[in-house]
Symmetry: C2
Subunit: 311 residues, 2 copies
């Protein structure tokens, strides 16, 4: 799946991923009205609203981008109906040949991590049949429990030719509270990065990058520079672009000289673009056209950042 | 909810929690047959099997115990039908007046943690209505992202009078890989423990314990001793008893002198007791009676451990 991701990045020229993180405040009123009329002002109605909203954004952007990253929490908050909308979104994106990165940040002790890996990347044995639960292409994983929490994900990746991105340095303001603390003279995130590099050796793709990647926030470009060296074969999923404050110039050190090695996520900057002054001319009715324009502008921004350093 | 948990621990004399972590290999054949006949050998059939299995165990143990801890991964592996079985289990346990600790180990950046907190402890606004997603009483939380990943859970706890248990030192063999690394002369888990203590000050219950608790593995009794001092007002959820290797004597330092301050989890040691040589006389048909006996034996084991040190 890392091969497919890289092929699609090269084909689209867009090292970006659209974060499908639908909050109700992003969903235009006309979509909510439609959904509530058919399903009610309840969890089912909310789930229908986010599904209709997602579908239009996917329809207007899938040809420009290699991948999407639905954040499962935004669906989970609507209970079972929300998770049904998550699964519909995953399936629909795969129909559109997009690579789907499930942003689930799971991680637990061995047998429990194995269950999560099965849930999201693998297949579970039921009687004589093998059944898939959510069936994403990649998922994000929390490393706090150490190797025996991570290895079950890698085992399923080997079997299914899928991948993971392990949290190394997250994009949020207080990520440094534990992740930046010095251990033997190096911050914790570097130690985690070294482990990611070692775990990744087990499962290499065709383009010199491993199926085992890392999450490093765009909001910490200096740390990204170091981590790019610490994990030379790990693809980096980079959140924090746009709404969280980072721009193209913060990103260049995450990439190698072939414009590979990283994929940059933007969520609300794209899916809620119509609420941004810059794209207000589209209006709420054409929210998905605003998203398309925001994707085009993000690709241009990153292109210009590459060009400015001759990459 | 910490008040209810403590009241129920005192009433039952059982500082224990039954981990409802149903793996298919634990479910007796007669239950699987029943479920597959009604729903098929698919995710729906598997979900029906684990629900029927859970229900009998709950029916045979609920009067002896204060709380249950369903591990959501074991349901999530069966996709949407599995999560429906999770929700049915949560609701049924609450009907039986059990305190429900959702073992979800979620944790993300601010707005995403807020969505998880809403999903599992709070209510989400849909149009004019407030709707609950999963509605557990407590959940477990991963601290790797720092304060802004944890605070949204605490905010929802304040509103709903619910609680969390934050991963401090987990029970698995490789938990030390990051958690034991020394920072300023102290292991990471102690730094996390100090944060848990500080976070907990915001939200104190009636018995001197906070709504903000910690997870510390029974498999690390020495660390438990230290952490009991570091977090004097944090209730400790202690996994690792039984199948993972810890016994009553490993637990005493997790408790205060009133036999409070901790709640010990056992999962397969109770729910799959009938598969253990010690309880084989019950047979698979009476698996839930074996679970009841295992609960009684666990209470006795912990009682004896208290008695041996005069607690």
């Amino acid at each position: 799946m890392i091969n497919k991701l890289i092929d699609k990045i090269q084909k689209t020229g867009a090292p970006i991923v659209v974060g499908l993180d639908p909050m109700m405040k992003f969903v235009p009123d006309h979509i909510k009205k439609l959904a509530f009329e058919s399903k009610g002002e309840n969890l089912e109605g909310a789930a229908e609203a986010i599904w209709l909203y997602n579908k239009q954004i996917i329809d207007k952007t899938y040809d420009l981008i290699p991948a999407v990253k639905p954040q499962i929490a935004m669906y989970e908050q609507f209970g079972i109906p929300g998770l049904i909308a998550f699964k519909k979104t995953v399936d629909y994106c795969k129909e559109k040949d997009l690579v789907v990165i499930g942003d689930i940040k799971r991680g637990d002790i061995g047998s429990t991590s194995a269950a999560y890996a099965t849930a999201h990347l693998g297949k579970v044995q039921v009687g004589d049949n093998l059944c898939a639960g959510f069936d994403e292409d990649f998922v994000t994983v929390n490393p706090y429990l150490g190797t025996d929490g991570v290895q079950p994900f890698i085992d399923v990746c080997k079997e299914e030719k899928k991948g993971i991105f392990i949290l190394v340095k997250t994009s949020n303001p207080s990520s440094g509270e534990f992740q930046d603390r010095l251990i033997d003279g190096k911050p914790l995130y570097e130690h985690v990065g070294e482990k990611v590099a070692a775990w990744g050796e087990q499962l290499m793709g065709d383009h010199g990058y491993s199926y085992v990647g890392a999450v490093v926030g765009a909001t910490y470009p200096e740390q990204g520079k170091v981590l790019r060296q610490v994990m030379p074969k790990s693809f980096i999923l980079v959140p924090g672009y746009g709404a969280q404050g980072a721009s193209g110039k913060d990103l260049i050190h995450f990439f190698d000289d072939n414009r590979l090695g990283a994929i940059v996520n933007s969520s609300r900057g794209i899916i809620a673009a119509y609420q941004n002054e810059k794209y207000s001319k589209f209006g709420a009715l054409n929210f998905a056209d605003a998203s398309r324009q925001a994707v085009i502008d993000m690709i241009t921004d990153i292109d210009q950042a590459f060009a400015s350093v001759g990459k």
